[in-house]
C-alpha cells in the first residue's frame, strides 16, 4: 500500500534503459550514463532588504560532458529537488545529442520562492549562486540558461558576477542573455521554428502537402503562437483551431494569426475570438486535422484520448505532451509523432549559437541564425526518423537511440568505459 512517490530521476533512468536495451549498449557505458558525473550542492547566504540574512540552498548537476561543456537551465523554485534536477540534466544530455550540438547536459536550481523576493534580493541571490557555482562554470565547462522563474535579466546578473570573479568578460558562460548583452538574434521563435522545420521534413517523409493542410494548436504562449505564425508564413498551413488555458476557438476556414494574437493581447485569451466557434482543449486534440501541435500541457494526449486523435502528424512543442501509453497507441495507428526533445530542441540549438557568437565575439544576422538552425534541425530530424524506421520503433524511442548512441560513442572514444 505504501507506494513510493513518483521519482522523475528514476523515470529518466527507465527511458535510458529502454534505449540501451534496443541498442544493446555496453553494460559499463549504460551504467555510467545512468548517473550524473558531477553534482555541486551549495549553501547561499543572502542579505535581505530588511537587513537580515537568509540562507538558501542550491545545486548544479553536470550530467555528462563527454560530448562537450554541460548545458542546461537554472531553476528558482520552492519545490526544487535534486532528483528532479538530475532528471532534467539527463534529458538535456539527450536533447543536445539528438540535435548533434557539441554539448553535454546539466541543470541547476535554487530552492526559493521567487515571488517572495524583491528585485534586489533576487539579484543578490543570483550573484551568490554564481559566486559558489562559478568555479565549475565557463564556456568550456558548463553553460547555464534561463529556466523556471529565471529570466534574461537574471542571466545578465549572473554573467556580470562571473565576469567580476574572472576579471574579464566571458559572455559565453551563460546563454539567454538580453540581446543588448550578448544574446542571440532569433531566440524568440527558436523553439517554434525548430519544430516547424521538423514538421516540414516529416511531411516530406510522409509525402504530405503542407500548403493548405489543416492544423490545430493547443497552447498559445510563446511556442504555440509562433507556431501559428510560422506555420502560415513558411508553409501556408491552415490553422483551424487554437487554444489557451481558458479554452479554444475553431474556424474551419482558418484563423488569422495577426487578428488572433491581437485579440489575445487585448482580452488575455483567444476565446471569444469573433467568427470562431468555442471548443474545449480536449475537443481540439480530437479535431480532424492534418497537423496537431500540442504546445502547452503535459500529458495532454494520453491513453484515454489517443485513440481519438485524428491528426496525421503530431508536433510536440510542449514538454511531455504525450504519455508513453499514448505513444504506443499513436504509433500503432500510424500517427507520426515528432517527439518533444527533438521537436523543441530549437531553443537549445540557438543557445548553442549564442555561445558560438560569444566565443567569436561576432554576431550573426537573424537570417543566418535561421539558416543554421534549419540545417541542424533537418539533419536531426532525419537521424531520428531513420533510426526509428531502422529499429521499427516509435519516434521517441528513435530519438533516444540516436542521442544515447552519440553520447555513448563519445564516452567510449574518450576511454571512459
Amino acid at each position: 500500500m505504501n507506494k513510493k512517490a513518483f521519482n522523475p530521476f528514476e523515470m529518466a533512468q527507465r527511458q535510458l534503459d529502454d534505449a540501451a536495451a534496443v541498442l544493446q549498449l555496453d553494460p559499463a557505458v549504460h551504467e555510467l550514463l545512468r548517473w550524473p558525473l558531477r553534482e555541486l550542492h551549495v549553501t547561499l547566504p543572502v542579505k535581505m532588504d530588511d537587513g537580515t540574512t537568509r540562507i538558501f540552498h542550491g545545486f548544479r548537476v553536470q550530467y555528462n560532458d563527454a560530448r562537450g561543456p554541460n548545458k542546461g537551465g537554472i531553476r528558482f523554485h520552492s519545490g526544487e529537488t535534486v532528483d528532479l534536477v538530475r532528471a532534467l540534466a539527463a534529458w538535456m544530455t539527450w536533447k543536445c545529442a539528438v540535435v548533434d550540438i557539441p554539448l553535454g547536459g546539466g541543470k541547476g536550481g535554487i530552492i526559493c520562492d521567487p515571488k517572495s523576493l524583491s528585485a534586489g534580493e533576487l539579484e543578490r541571490l543570483s550573484r551568490a549562486y554564481i559566486r559558489q557555482v562559478g568555479r565549475i562554470l565557463g564556456l568550456e565547462k558548463d553553460v547555464p540558461a534561463p529556466d523556471v522563474y529565471t529570466t534574461p535579466q537574471i542571466m545578465a546578473w549572473m554573467m556580470d558576477e562571473y565576469a567580476f570573479m574572472q576579471g574579464y568578460n566571458e559572455y559565453g558562460m551563460i546563454t539567454g542573455k538580453p540581446l543588448a548583452l550578448g544574446g542571440s538574434a532569433g531566440r524568440g521563435d527558436a523553439t517554434a521554428r525548430g519544430g516547424m522545420y521538423c514538421l516540414r521534413e516529416a511531411a516530406k517523409a510522409l509525402n504530405l502537402e503542407l500548403k493548405g493542410a489543416t492544423a490545430a494548436i493547443q497552447g498559445y504562449g510563446n511556442a504555440g503562437s509562433f507556431a501559428h505564425k510560422l506555420g502560415v508564413e513558411l508553409f501556408g498551413l491552415k490553422v483551424v483551431a487554437v487554444s489557451d488555458s481558458r479554452g479554444g476557438i475553431y474556424n474551419p476556414d482558418g484563423l488569422d494569426f495577426a487578428k488572433v494574437s491581437a485579440h489575445k493581447a487585448k482580452t488575455g485569451s483567444v476565446i471569444d475570438f469573433p467568427g470562431s466557434k468555442c471548443i474545449s482543449n480536449e475537443d481540439l486534440l480530437e479535431l480532424d486535422v492534418t497537423v496537431l501541435i500540442p504546445a502547452a500541457l503535459e500529458n495532454a494526449i494520453n491513453e484515454d484520448n489517443a485513440d481519438r486523435v485524428r491528426a496525421r502528424i503530431i508536433v510536440e512543442l510542449a514538454n511531455g505532451p504525450t504519455t508513453p501509453e499514448a505513444d504506443q497507441i499513436l504509433h500503432d495507428k500510424g500517427s507520426y509523432v515528432i517527439p518533444d526533445f527533438l521537436c523543441n530542441a530549437g531553443g537549445v540549438t540557438v543557445s548553442y549559437f549564442e555561445m558560438v557568437q560569444n566565443a567569436y565575439d561576432y554576431y550573426w544576422e537573424e537570417c543566418v541564425v535561421h539558416e543554421r538552425l534549419e540545417k541542424k534541425m533537418t539533419s536531426a530530424f532525419w537521424a531520428v526518423h531513420n533510426a526509428a524506421q531502422q529499429h521499427r520503433v516509435h519516434n521517441r524511442l528513435g530519438a533516444y537511440l540516436v542521442a544515447v548512441n552519440r553520447v555513448a560513442e563519445a564516452v567510449r572514444l574518450r576511454g571512459w568505459a
Binding site: F6, D49, K115, S116, A300, D304
Partner: protein, 780 residues
Amino acid sequence: MTHTPPESSKILDIYLLIAQYPMLASDIRRRMRAELFRRGIITHQRFEAEVNEKAVLSQEREGLIGDQKEDAEQWELRWSRVRRTLTDFYFAYNLPIEILYHILDDLLMHQADGRSVQPDHSLPFNPELAPLEMVLRQAEKYEALPDEERDAVDHHLQELRVVLLKSMVSDQLAFIHIAKRWFTTTDFNMILERRIGTGKIGGKAAGLLLAYKILQNMAPEIFEKIVLPRSYFIGADVFYDFLAANKLEFLNQKYKTAEQIRLEYPKIQEQYTCARFPEEVAQQLREILRDVGKTPLIVRSSSLLEDNFGMSFAGKYVSVFCPNQGTLKENLRDLTLAIRRSYASVFGPDALMYRRRMGLLDYDERMAILLQEVQGHRHRQYYFPAVAGVAYSYSPIVWNTRLKREEGFMRLVMGLGTRAVDRMAGDYPRLVNLSHPQLRPEVMPKAIRYYSQHFVDALDLEQNTLTTVPVESILGPDYYPLRWLVSVDDGETVRPPLTLGLSIDPAQLILTFDGLLQRGTFVPLLKTVLTRLEQQYERPVDIEFAVSFTPGSSKPTLAFHLLQCRPQNQWSAEDRKTQSLPTDLPAQDKILLCTRMVPQGRVSQVEYIVYVDSEAYHQLDTPADYTEVARWIGHLNKSLEGRTFILVGPGRWGSSDAMQGVPVTYADIFNTRALVEVASNQRGFSSEPSYGTHFFQDLVEAQIYPLAVYPEEPRDHFNWDFIRQSKNQMSKFFSQQTKASRCIKVIHIPAERPGHHLEIIMDGQSGLGYLTRSKPTHLQ
C-alpha cells in the same frame, strides 16, 4: 411643499439671542438700529415713522378704536415693543447675524471693563433645542476664547459640536464619537457654505471630511501633500423634498417582498428619470456648474447609512460621472439625471436586501449627495487621474509569509479608480502589500504583463462620456507621469524606462507602477495616512484615493487626493457579529480550521466539497494520470456551475509539477468559491501549499479564497472522519470513471447532514469551515 423664509428663523435666532441678555437688551437694540441707520438701510426718521404706523395699526388690531385711546404709559409700552420687533425684523432682513455678535461682544467688553467682572461663559441655552445658527455661533464664541478660558467651556463646546455633527453631518454614534474631536466651526461653516438644502451630508461625505480632519491634525508632516477635492453637498432633506415635489410612488418599498422590490425597481428608475428638481435646488446646482466651469464632476451617493461603522453599502448605491462638457443647460440636465439615478438606487434590490440582512430596514434612510470635481488632468482627449486606488490599513490578503498584513495593502490603477474598486475579468490592478511594495505575485515577464492593467477608465472630453480605452492608446512620451507608472517589456526583461524618447513604443509598456513604488515618497506617505487614520478610527480603515504628479521632477513629486475613508468592512462592529468565528461548535461539525495566511471573507451556503484524496492521488502510476485528475476537476467545475462548492486537495493547486499538487489551470477551477490546500506529510508525500499563487490575481479578482490547512499542526484542524465517511457522489455526475477520477470524492453536504450546509468564515487570522443549519429559502 411650503418653505419658511430663512429670515423667519433668523428673527427667532436674534430674539432668542437677545433674550439671553435681559438687562442689555435695550442697549443691544439701540446699537442694532444705529447700525441700520449708519448703513443707510433705513433712515432714522423713516424708522420712527414706521414704528408709529405699526403701533397705531396694532391698537386697531387689538380693538382700540376711536375714543378708546390708551394712556401714555400704555402707549409708551406698546410703542417700545413694536420698535423692538421692527428693529429685529429690519436687522434680520438686511444684516448678517455676525454683526449682532460683534455688537454683543463689544457691549460685553465695555461692561467687563466698567465693572471688572469675570466673563460669563455659561451655555445660555439648550443646544439640542436651539436653532442651528445659534449653536454654531456659540461654538465659534467658545473656540475664540483664549486657551486658559477654553478649558472651562470645553464640555460645552463638545456638546455644541456633537449637536452640529448630528444635525449637519451624521447621527451615527460611532462616527460622532470620533468626529467630535476633530470638527471645528470652520468645518461646519464650510459645510453650510457648500450645502444645498438642509439635512445631513451623509456617510460618504462624513467619512471623507473626518479623514481629512484627522490627517490635518495628526499627520502634519505629510499634510501639505493631501488634497481634498472641491466638494459640494446636497443635504439629505432634499431627497424628501424631491419625493414630495414629484409625488413619487413606491415610498415604502423596503417592506415589500424581495420579488416585488426587484420587479418594481425598473419602474422606479423610470419615474425618477422623469421627475423634476425643486427649482431652488436646480438654481443652486446651476450656480455650482457656473463655478466649476468645464471641470468634470462626479455625483457620489452619500446616504445616511453609507460608509458607517459596520455597514459599508459598498456598490449598493449609484455614483455617476458627469463629464460636464456640454452647454450649461445640458450639463445641468446630466447632473440632475445623475442625482436622480443616485436617489432611485435607494430603492434598488441590492441596497434593500443588504439593509434587510443587516437589520437596517426600519432606519429612515435618506440619500444625500457628495458632488465633487473629478480629480485628474487632461491628456489628449481624456481626463483621468494618473493613479487611483483603494488601500486597506490591514491587508485582507497575503501571498507569502514575508508580507505583513498590518502594514496595509492597495490596489493601484491608472485612470479612474473604478477599475481598482470593481473586479474586471481579464484586467488586473497592481496589488501591493505595503510591507514589501516591490513584491508581486508574479515573477516572469510574461506573467507580469498578463496580470497587469490593460484598460483605463477615463472621461472622454470630446465625446462627453465615460469611456474605457486600451492603455497603449493613452501611454506615450507625451504623458509626463509615464516614468513613474510603466516598465518597459522588451520581450526579455521588464525594466524601468531608461529614456522616454520619442521612439518609445507604447505596445512595449506595462503598467507596473514600479517607479512610483520604488522611488520617492508615495509608499511612506500612504502608510502614514493609513496608520494615522487607523489609530484615530480605532480600527482598520479603507480609503480611496487618486495621485497626481508635478511635471519635471527627477523623483515622483506628488499630491495625494483623498476621496473616501471608511472603517474596513470586516472589522466593523456589525460585520464582526456576522464575521466572528463560532467557538462552541461540536467537533463533528468542524470541517476545517486554517491559521496561516488566511484571507478575510466569507463563503456561505457551500453545498458541495470536491475532495482530491492525497493518498489515492499519489498512488497513480503515470504523470498522465495526474493530468487527468486535473481534467476531471475541470469537468466538475463545469458540472457544478451555479452551485456553491469548494475544492480541497493535496499540496499546490495549479503546480506544473504534478507531484506537488493537482496540475489544474484556472480554467479548471474558476467556479469554485475556495481553493483549499491540504499540507500533509502523510506517507512521505510532502506538499507545501502554494496559497493559490499559480493564479493568485485571478483568484483575487474572482473572489475565490485560497486556504491552506496543516492537519498535523496543533492549531489547524481537518475533519478526516467527515471526509472519509461521506458518500462519494461522483457517479451522479459521471457514469464512466477512470483510475484518475477515483481520487476525487464529491461530497454533497445536505446528503450527509440533511438541512445543513458548509459555511466558511475567514477573519484574516483564522479560517473556519463548519456545518450549520441552512435557513429556509425565504429568510436567506
